[in-house]
Structures are given as C-alpha cells and as structure tokens.
C-alpha cells in the first residue's frame, strides 16, 4: 500500500502500519472535499494575483483545481484509501494532472490554517442548511398549532394534570424552542465567519500573501487577527456542538411528549405509518421508534460536546495533533440534527390528534382547582387562604370519590365559603382556557396574537441573531 505523505525528508524508517491507520483521517475528511477545493482555488488565485507564483504555473494550477472542482461536483472523485488526509489526497490528484507544480499550492500556507479555513467554511454551509430545516419544521408546527388553536388539552406540571390549555398553545411552545435554536445557530455561523487562511503553521508566512482578499473571496467577514490563535482556536466547533446539542435537547423533549401521547394511557396521538414501526414479535405494536431514536441520539450530541471540550482542555497553543479529533463529532452532530429535523417534520405533519380524548383529560379530576383559587383571590381572599380552601375541597371530594366538577353545591358553599353558581361555570375546560387570555396565554385572543408573531418570525429571512 502506497502512503502519500506530505512530509518524510528527515525520517529513516517507514511508519508503523497501525500508526498509519490510526493517523488517517481521510474518510471523515472526505466530507470536506468541496470546501477543500474551494479554499485551495482561492489560495491559488491569490498566489497568482500577488505574483507569488509565476503567471504560467499559477494558471496551470488554477485550471487543474477548476477541473477537480467539476469532477468533485459530478461525483467522479473517489476517496483514495491510501491517502493520509484530504490535503494529501487533493495534492496527489493535482500531481497526476500537473506534475510537480502541484507542490506550489502549499506556498504560503500550511495544513494548519488550511484545515481550519475549510472546516469553518463547511460549518457555515451546514448551518445554512439546518436553519432552513428549522424553518420547515416550524412551519408544520404553526399549521398544526393554528388548526388546534382552541382544542382543549391538559397542561402538566410534575407530569400531573395542572390546568387546561390548548393543543395549539402547547405546540407553539415547541415553535419558540426552535426559534431560539435558529437564533443560536445564526450566531454560531456569524462568529465562525473569520478566515484563518494565511496563518500558515502558526506564525504567518514570509510570502506577500493577501489575507483580506482570500477571506473576502470565500465569503468571510475578514481574516483572523492573530495567526497563532487562528490555528489553535476551535471555538467554532464547540459553539456548533453546543448549538446542535441544544437543538437535539429540544427535539428530545418533543420526542418524549410524542412517545407519551402515543401510548395507550394517553391516547392523544397517532403517528403516520411511515414514521412508525412494528414489532417482530408483537404484531399490534405501533412503535414511535423515530421519536425514541431522536430522544436517544440527543445524548450522542452531549457526548460529542464533552469529547471536544475535554480534548481541547489544557492544550498549549499552536497546532497539536489532538485537534484532528474536532471533525468527526462535528460532522456527526450536524448530520444528526439534519435527519432529526426532517423526521420530526414528518411526524408532526402527519400527526393525528384524538381531540375528544384530550378534551376529556382536560376536564377530568380536579384540574380546575387553580381557576377556583384564582377566582376566590380575585374576590379579595388572600391567595394563601384561597389556595388552602380549594385544597380542602379537593380532599373532601376525593374522600367521597367525586371530581371537582361533581362537587355538590353544599360542599362548595361550606368549604369554599363561596356561591356555587359562581364556581360551577369555572369548571369547564373552555372556561379555564378563556380566562387565561393575557399575553402568552392559551386564551383565544392571546393565541391569535401568538400565531401572528410566529408567522411574522417565519416570514423573516433567516433568524435574527441575538445582539
């Protein structure tokens, strides 16, 4: 097996076989092919423009790189399994096409600044894709949210039914979680957008390169201000991993609710067949596997963040080989977010809700208790006392096996010291929901406002990075 190495002059002995395999990153790096070529091309054009390379040779190099770009786009380049990394692989391909001139591409740059530039460019592109997928998912949520804006369901605290809300209200909570994810990723994209190219190994280069020009060509806001920091910094990766982990965390919470709502006990939700699986042994099962997988895989992103941070901890500045490990977790996290967003959209788009069952749950038991306590308080009873009276009523009802809605007028009168005719109308789900109509609440007017705000956010291009 031939090993293409970019170094070797000072070495007497061939590298160990396990060592070679251990050090290779080509398979993972292959994701970066398009960006590797794009950065190389910008660098080559700058070398020509700055007359660092002789014009003829520079042109030849540029044309060869352009042909590589085309071949890559059309899928004609295959991963060369014997290359150490993507830089070596590309140089090898180049060498086949233009011979030794290929070596000139490394003038005024190093693998250290090259890989950092390529990774940032790649990250920017993947962020754009995720931002668009977040919008797609939000759009489905708004659709379902609007459809069920006024459909009663129980709101929970401590996994206990607490107060009646609406399905639309609950789903819009998901919308705003995702809105923060969009804003966070937008920030990641922006803060990653400075260009290390030209920092070379760690201290720049004696060649008269133009870092501002290449940065601009590649769509960066400008070059990084310190070459040593440029090759040592991996904040862009950890920020992205945090954003991915947070997005997956949000999807894990939605997934948990989907799993629960799909259970026989809740019975709120039926997922479409195309995102449901069966059991090899229990033919009746409709398993919410993809919600479970998203839930489970969110943990993978936590692991990636830990691996990255722990890997970077206490590393002296300047390139250390440890940081080769920055890419596989990043690639995996970004792909996981993409797939999870796609699947979540499919689940929500096709979700069928059992509104009858949800309404029943929203009116069962003692769920209207808060509404009663609030009512007493509005009549001047100090809140703590109101709360205690309702508590006693609940207990009295439980002792005789009644729900709050079934409490007798006498019981209400004696325990609450209130007029049953004022209390009883408070006990329907609709009454509870209608009364909570202030900004951000589930009431009908509040929901109109919230839906309008959500739609306005959807219409905006991208997400506003918090500033």
């Amino acid at each position: 097996m031939k090993k293409t190495k970019l170094w070797g002059g000072a070495f007497a002995e061939a590298p160990d076989e396990t060592a070679w395999r251990f050090g290779q990153s080509i398979e993972s790096d292959w994701n970066l092919l398009a960006e590797e070529l794009e950065v190389s091309l910008a660098h080559a054009r700058m070398l020509e423009r700055q007359k660092i390379l002789p014009a003829a040779k520079a042109k030849k190099l540029i044309r060869a790189l352009e042909s590589l770009v085309r071949d890559a786009e059309e899928g004609r380049l295959k991963i060369p399994r014997d290359a150490e990394d993507i830089h070596a692989a590309v140089e090898e391909e180049l060498r086949k096409r233009v011979g030794d001139i290929a070596g000139m591409l490394h003038t005024g740059r190093s693998r250290n600044d090259q890989i950092a530039t390529v990774a940032r460019l790649y990250l920017r592109r993947r962020c754009d894709r995720l931002l668009s997928l977040i919008k797609d998912l939000q759009r489905e949520i708004v659709k379902q949210g609007a459809r069920h804006a006024n459909a009663p369901m129980p709101g929970y605290t401590h996994q206990q039914r607490a107060q009646p809300v609406t399905l639309g209200f609950h789903l819009l909570a998901w919308f705003w979680m995702l809105q923060r994810d969009g804003e966070r990723l937008e920030t990641v994209k922006i803060s990653a957008n400075t260009c290390p190219l030209g920092a070379a190994a760690l201290a720049g280069t004696p060649f008269k390169i133009d870092r501002h020009w290449t940065a601009k060509q590649l769509g960066f806001d400008g070059p990084t201000p310190n070459a040593l920091d440029a090759v040592s910094d991996r904040d862009f990766a950890s920020d992205a991993l945090h954003a991915c982990a947070t997005l997956m965390l949000h999807l894990s919470r939605m997934s948990q609710e989907i799993v629960l709502w799909s259970s026989e006990e809740f019975g709120f939700l039926r997922l479409p067949d195309r995102v449901t699986t069966g059991s090899s042994i229990m033919p009746q099962k409709r398993n919410p596997d993809f919600a479970e997988l998203i839930r489970g895989r969110s943990a993978r992103c936590f692991g990636h963040w830990v691996a990255h941070m722990s890997m970077m901890k206490a590393l002296p500045l300047g390139y250390n080989r440890d940081t080769q490990e920055d890419k596989p977790p990043l690639f995996d996290a970004l792909a996981l977010c993409r797939d999870s967003l796609l699947l979540m959209r499919t689940m929500i788009e096709g979700a069928q809700f059992d509104k009858q069952r949800m309404r029943e749950a929203a009116e069962a038991g003692h769920i209207a208790a808060t509404a009663v306590a609030d009512f007493l308080a509005s009549k001047g009873v100090p809140f703590r006392q109101a709360h205690e009276r309702v508590g006693r009523l609940v207990r009295a009802c439980e002792e005789v096996g009644l729900t709050l809605r079934e409490a007798t007028p006498d019981l209400i009168r004696s325990v609450l010291q209130a007029d049953p005719d004022e209390i009883l109308p408070l006990l329907s789900a609709e009454a509870g929901i209608r009364s909570r109509d202030g900004y951000g609440g589930p009431g009908p007017n509040a929901m109109k406002v919230q839906l309008a705000e959500a739609r306005a956010a959807l219409r905006r291009k991208g997400f506003v990075a918090r500033q």
Copy 2:
C-alpha cells in the same frame, strides 16, 4: 423544626425528614435574594397599578418589600434554615411584617414563572460582572504584550519548537481567545433577556396583569411569547454554562502554558509570590498552584454542562421538579469564572519573563528550517521539493551533532543547492520574525497593527455580540 411550606391543604401526613432536606434549595437560592426581592417588588407595583389588589393593601405590601430590600442590602436578612426555598423564606419575612396580606403577593404569579424570572435577572448581572473582568484581564495582557512585542520566543506545534515568534504575539493570542469569550457572554446575556413573569404555573393567569410593564421595569427586552415555554425553558442556563465552560477552557490553556513555562525545563516564567505556593515537604518548590487549580477546575464546568443537559433531556414541557437542579451548577460556574479571571489577571500582571532564555530557545536546534524552505520556494523551487531538501539538511546536521545555525557552507550548498550567504542570515530568530510581517503575524509592523486593534477593542464599551 418548623417547615414553611407554600402548599399542604390536600395532605394528611407530614413530610419525611430526609425528603424535606432533599427538597430544600434555600442555601443555594439565597444567592438570588436581591433579585427575588426586586422581581417581587415589580410584581407588587404592577398589581397596584392594574388595581388587582386594593390600593391600601398593595401599598402596604410594597412598603414592606422595600424595607426587605434595604435589609437585604445591609446584610440584615439571615438565611432561614427551615424554609423550603427562597420564595417561602421571603413570604415568611413579609408575613412577619404585614400579616396575611403577604399571601396576596402570589396573586397572578407562581413559583414557576417567579424563579425563571429571578434566575434570568441574576444571570444578566453576573454576565455584566464577568464581561468587566474579562476586559480587566485583557488589559493586562495588552500591557505585557506591548512590553514584549518584539521579544523572541519559540512558537510550538506538537509541543516541538517550530518557528520563532515573539512573546507579545503569543500573549495576544490569549487576548483574542478572551475577546470571543466576551462576545459569547454578551450574546448569552442578550438572549436570556426576555421575561417569563406572568406565565404563572404554565398557562398565564386570569388576573389582568401587565407583563410588558413588569418586563420593562426589570430591564428585560419584553415578555416571553408563550407561557408554557416560559416555565419549561432553561436555555439561558445551558447557554451560560457553555460560555463559562469555554472561558474556563481558554483559561486552562493559558494555565497549561503558565505551568510549563514555570518549569525548570522551560524556565521562561516566574510567577509573583502572591500566586505561588510552596510545598510542605520540599522547601525549594515554587508551585504554580493557581494555574493548576484553574486548569483542574475548568473540568468542573464541563461537568456542570453535562449535568444540566442530561437533566433537561427528554423532560416533558411544564415545570418538572428536576429543573430545581439548574441553579447550583450555574452559580458555581459563574463564581468559578469570576475567581479564575481575577487570579489569571494577578498572574499575568506580576509575571516576570526570562527573555534571555526565551531568545535562546527561539534560536536553538533546527527552528529556522521553515524559513529556509520558504526562501527556496520563493526562488521557484516547488514547495514540496524545498521541504524535502531542508529535511535532508536537518538530518545531515543531526548525524554530525550540529544545529542548523552551525551547518557548514559546504553542507548548505550541497544539500540545499543554495548560496550559503543567502541562507545564513535567515537563521537568526529576528530574521525569522521580521520576515513574517503580514496581517496577523509576529513581525514588527504586524504587531503594531494587532496591538492597535486590541486596544480599539478594549476601548469599546462591552463586547459586540456577533450578529
């Protein structure tokens, strides 16, 4: 022991002793006292303004809260060890001063929205403090960086001397790491700055509260748009933990360099006595304990992030008691960052560098090799070939026990195929540094530009959040 509980009407049996202790959060919550009172006061004023409470009672409540604020500021309030949490503690104090009216404070709010509001307010304040400490540290770095702008030292890759740089250049790399920390924390502060107050338990309240007014009073950008999301969301905490972890990661890298540079092997740095400790058994030791402690404790922040994310994973929306765990890690991370920034400033402010030793290290061995390869390349030798020739020269020198600076003219001529008179001047540290004078490099003009940029950043109020 008396237990102050805000609930209990529906319960027959007293809480278990271990359970009580397990559920208490008062000691940790006590950090939030100032913000708890401030939010309560804004809420009480709003209740008065909206005429939700009778004017006389509201005024009494407000005056009592104001007296509590004064007492708290003057340290006259003590942690009541038998209170469950800070809300219960404050209500108890209020009750002592105004009797049952105290209970009215809970009208139109719940512990769920209250704690989320208080925590965000607290976070905003602590971010401001950290931002200011980051600037202080950066200021010391710029001072030392300017002082040693042109002092040669080795730049390292793979912990091997790679190319000569300057101490000022290296220190400024730290500056830019911290600049990103400032920008990140600024973003955290901004994105946490919406107000959950009024979301109540999870679905708002029937009282005609004015959420926009309280949000504004407390300096928030506005109320959160969905009440369920408002009480379920803890992104502000995880974003802060990520920012703290990243800051500590950067400090751990600086610390690692301080530890190494303070070793006898490097001998670059002598820390001031006031941040150095001795050994109980080895009297000669000058241990860089605080750099070690910062390095070690950075890991604690990673743990906090993991604890938070893993705690939040797959939680259904609506308040779950699990999230009580959001605060201790946050408090600890913020305090750790504060102390570490202070100590790092002290270390850098008093650092004495052994410039002679650094210069020697910057000229020893084969460190000028890249400069030679770059020179050959600039003369038209394809970079790969240039690289290989210099590699052979290094090997030839090693075989006879010479450093590159000691290579004979004959050796240079035969191996490099270059004129020794052109090569030899490249081999001093200054030559290497001077030649790398492009944007972001260690050369003298580049350093002037970089110092000017750093000073301009220092002069700006706060940090520009990336947008």
Copy 3:
C-alpha cells in the same frame, strides 16, 4: 485573617486574598476529619514503634491525637475557617495542645500520601453505608414484589403495552438492577483498599517507616507497590463515581416509572403523603417531587464523573494541584446516593398500587397478540407467518373499533386460520402470564423461583463482588 500554612519559608510576599480563598479546601475536607485523625494516629503509632521519634515525644503526640479523636466524635471540633486544608487545621489544633512537637507528625509522610490514604479510608466507609442502604431498599422491593407477585399489569416496550406481566415481576427487575449496584460498589471498595501512606511526596521517605504495619492498622489489604503511582492515582474516585452514577441511573429509571405510574393517565400508583408535595398554585396536585428530584439529580453524578475524568486527563504523574478537585464531586455523589436510596425506600414502602386499574390495562387493546402468534407458531406455523396473520387480525379489529378480546369468532377463523375456541382463552391477562412460566418469566412458578433467589441474595452478607 490569620492563614495557617504548612509552607512559606521560601516566599517573600503574602498570598493574594482571592488566591487564598480559591486554594482553600477546608470546608469540603472537613468531611474527612475522622479519617484524617485515624490515619494520623496510625502514622504516629508507627513512628513510635519504629523508634523514628523519641518515645516520650511520640507518646505525647499520640495522646494528643487520641484526645482530638474524642473531641471530634463528640462534635467539639469546629471548622477553622482560616485553615488552608484539613491537614493544616489538625496540625494547628495539635500545636495548641502539644506545641512544636506537632510538627513531628509530618516526619516520613507528606500531604500527598496522607490525603490519598484518608480519601480511600473515607470511601471504604461510605461504600459500606451504601451497601447497607441498598439491601434495605431491596428488602422493601421484595416485600412489595411478593405481595403483588401475581397481580397483572402491562409490560411495555417502546412505551406501548406489549404483553401482560405482573407487578411483582416488574418490581423484581428493580431488585436485580440494585443487586448489580451492590456488586459494583463491593468491587470499588475492594479495589480501593490498598494504602498509599508512606509514599510521601512521590518517592517514599528515607525514614525507616513500616508501610505494611500502618496499612494493616487501617484495615487495608496492603501498601501500594509504587510510591509515584500511589500519589498520582485517583482511580478509586473515578470507579466510585461510575458506581454512583450507575446506581443513580437505575434510580432514575425507577423514578421515571414512579412519575408515570403516579400520573392520572396511568393511575397505577399513589405515593404516601410524606414523599409527595403540593403546588403553591394548584391545590389538587400530588406531585412525585422526590422521584423527580432523584431523576434530575442522577444527571449530577454524570457531571461529576465527567469533571473527574476530564480533570485527570493528560496529567503528568506526581501530585498536581488539579487533583484537589477529586473530593467535592465524590462527597456529593456519595451523599446523593445515600439520600436517594433512603427516599426510594420510603416511596416503595408506602406505595399503594391500584391493582384494578393495572389489570384493566393488562387486558386492554391488542396486548394478547403475541400470545396468539406464539400459539400459532407452536402449532407449526413458521413464526414470521404467524406474526403476519396476527398483524392482519389486529388491523381488521382496529378498522371496526374492536379490541382483540372482542374479535368475533368469524374474524378469528378467517384471518388467523385457527379455531376460535383455542384462541379466545389466550386473551386474558392471566392466561398470558401463566403461559410464561419459564426461568426468569412472570408465571407463578417462575416467580416463586425468582423470589427465592432474591431472598437468598438478601440473606447473604454484603454482595458478592464479581470475580
């Protein structure tokens, strides 16, 4: 504020105030007081025995230490807030009682070996306590398990009802999880049980100490074989953190089931009042707060493990101050396990199960489908075909709104190609349970065997470490 330091001769300048606070570990270390004194006493006795100290002075030292032990046991020693760490605090106390002789205690030892010995001793004791609490919890589980050995409930996969099992069977699954925790902790205890004392700073001591004797006095299996490893190794802490994290993980799974079973949707379980809390705003709530807190805090143990591992990563051997961070997470994890075990026992001991509701759930829907498929397979239908036929039957039932138990004989005959008289008896929960009576299953005989095995395990002293 006076600072008691064990070092200082070589220093001109007083330590920085923040530095002092940052470096202190006395509050956390105070947990180790009993063990600190015990190790010191063993060391002092060895110094006397080996005649390293003059007999009279040694005796005086020993008596003073003995008086300290008594004072500590009776709670008469208070944390001296101005001491740096526990070693300094104890020496200071000793100095008050015997003057300068106190300094002789450090002959032939260092803080490095001292703290490692003390920590291991402490860990051994806390493991014993946890092992005993695990047994207590297991005992309650066996009681409830035996009580409900044959009470039907649904077994779940993918949070979907899958097959009928019994409550006793489910509870015993918890028993075996805890059994592994016991075995794991037993292993931790054993592998931590070698004694670093005498390793001194990192390389032993010139004094003729007897490491085997002190090791034996303190109940260790023997001294550690390499002094450098002895002061550098913190595996005992990470092993303990892993064992605690795994225990808490198991408790988090039980907690999740307790939370779900306590919900109105499941309605399987009513927790006793003494481990249930109410809501400040919703008087009817019976919140399973302690199950939620255990679930949430399990994440804290994950964070502790990460903090520890990441702190230790890539540390050169020999004591580094970073490792001071090994104790706070360990103390917290052990205390958290203790409290969680106590609370879980209280929850299980007082748990009231709604067996009627569980039985209904165990017979609803299509839960008997597997039993039918298994029956067909036992009649020679290849399993895949049997599975598909039952799947079609389920679908046919769903289309007309029937459960499997309500399927008409005609439907059964046509879709299953089987005799309805043979199929219908399979559809009760009891039939399903009775049929699964092989080793490890929920059937009545299998449950008898399993209960007997569990009781035998309970009767054994301690847990058998896996070997």
Copy 4:
C-alpha cells in the same frame, strides 16, 4: 431499494426514506456477525433438543446456520446495505438457503433478548483481546523499567522538579496503572457474563425453552434471573465504557509525559521513526503525533460514556429504541483501546532515553532540598522547623544565584545550623535515590522487590478481578 423488515403486518404505508436510513443499524451491527450466528446456532440447537421444532426442520435450520458460520469466517458474507439490522440480514440469508423455515428461528426468542446476548458475547471476546494487549504493553514497560531501574531522573510535583527518582521507578508507575486496568476489565467481563437469551421481548416465552442449556453452550455463567431486567439492562456496556475510558485516561497521562519528554526543553526521549511524523512545512520536526492522538482520543471515550449514560437515564424498563445507540460507542471505545495499546507498545519498545540529560535534570537546582529537611528531622529538629530552615537556605542561594549543590559551607552552617560535611553528601541524585529504599520507593533494593512483583503479576494468567 428493497427493505427487509421483520414486521409490517399492521401497517398501510411504506416507511419514510429518511426514517429507514435513520433506523438502520446494519453497518455498525455487522461487527457482531460472528456472535449473531453463534447465538442463533445455540438457540436452534436448543429448539431441536427441546423438540420445540420438528426434528427435520430443526436440522435443516442448524445446517444452514453452520454453513453461514463458515461463510462468515471466510469473509464470504457481505453487508446487505438494504437490511434494517443484523437479525434481518441473517434471516434473509437463511431464507435464501432454506426458505420459510428461516422464520422458525425466531420461535421462543425476540430481537430484544437476541441483541443483548450477542452484545455481551462480543464484549467478552473483546475484553479478552484487550487483556492480552495490556499484558503485552506491561511486558515492554517492565523491560525498559528493568533496563533503567537505577537511572536517575527528576520526580515532579506541580510540574516542578521535586526529588530525584529513577526512570525505572517512573515507568513502573505506568505498569501499575495498567494492572488496575486489567483488573477492571476482568471484572467487566465477569459481570457481563450472564445470558439474556430466552427473555424474549420482555417476559419470556410460552415455549419450553431451556435457558440454562443455551447459557452454558455460549459460555455464560447462567441465565439472567429476570426477563424484564434482561432486556432493559445495559450495565455491561456502561461498565465497559468506564473501563475503556479509564484505560484511555491512563494512556493519556503516559502520552502527555511522552510528548513533554520528547520536547527540546526536556530532551529526555526520542521516539522511533515509525511512530513519529514530520511536518508539511517544518522539515526538522519530529512530532509525537501518536502520543498526541491517544491523548486527544481519550476524550472520545469520555464522550461515549456520557452519551451512553445520558441515553439510558430515566428510560422506563422494557425495550426502548433509544438503546440501539448502545453499540456504536462501545465498538468505537474497544477499537480505540486496542489501537492505542498497540501504538503505546511500539512507542515504549523503541523509546530511546537520554540518560545523561535526565541525570543532569535530577541534580540541578534545589531538588535535594527535601533530603536535607528529612535529614534535619532525623536529627530531632521538628519537621516544620527543618522545612523552614531549608526554605531559608534555598532563598539565600537563589539570591546569590547558586544551586543547593553549590551552597557554601558557611551558608549551610549558619542557615541550617548543621554540619556541612553531613549535608553535602546528601546532594547527589544517587544519594537521594539510595536513601529512599523502603517498600514502593525508587531505591535499589526497593526496585528489585517491585520488579519482582511486576514480573509475578505478568506471569499470572489474566488479571485477578478484585474481590
């Protein structure tokens, strides 16, 4: 693309394309092929033995499985990319060979118990391999340790030279770290060694299977005692991840020392070329890349543990699809340990130490200070006073630019109040080392004992699990 699914009867709609890809685990599962076949074969033989399947059909099934085993061993089976998981892939292959009888293999088992059994079997094998590699590495360490048993080098604390030790002594510290890794993995192997097969989906099976027989056939200690626990438990994976993480942590510490010792500043170590790499831009570099990669990748194992624990947290019992995520981290961690052990062995085997440089470092500066303090203490000076006197001497030396070895007799006499003739001989590295000759120390006799213990451990078969 054809999708081989083991379920589907109850479904109207085809699975979503992304969903299909998201749910697939075949590529990762393919690692388990040998064990999947082995477990299937044992199950089939049991079905025949228990007469659950008709003899002829059972025999056919068994023969087909045997042929699959042969084909797998000879690499003739290719990953079928369109299969969902390995169970489906194997069944499909079987179906090609024996038609519908293939479906009978699932009689009395489920994917849930099957995968758990296969994973445990796989883990046992990989543990055996790692145990053997650990011994190999230990063997090289003992060789180098014996070779350099008495070669002086500095021992460090706080990265400061503390006391002279020997290289052999330092290397043996590595030996004992690995010894604990061996013991830990042995324990993992043993505690994973119970057999879930026959637990079926979660509650056993009505077929009269013999779980004890299959367990024995597959080399397990016996069947798991509770079927629900059997399919829910993943402790074997988390225990293995902890053991791998700890092993990698140890290797990261060795790697850090290799990196430092290979630096120009230390200059202690030259790695063999075959595990050293060069630089694409700096021809003189001899980069310890594999030490860096091991150090960096250790963090990956921390991430895997976190991902696993966080994934399992709060999962209700019974199979949940989340747990499909248990395998990729496990496979990766085991492979990483394998490669890292191999590479570390290569590095140590070929390591060349610069003993002259190490000796010089072991005698430079004030490194003998402790020896002097110990000497004073042995003469009756209370240790604290001895310590302070030596501290003053060090400071006096530093002020005039002397090392301790160069201190004048007058200075020694006046500051130490001791006879210079007794002090001066203490100041050589050999003197320091020779004096520390108690159990576990670096002295010559102690080293003989330690080497003998290490060799005895090497000779033992496997590692003694701590019990």
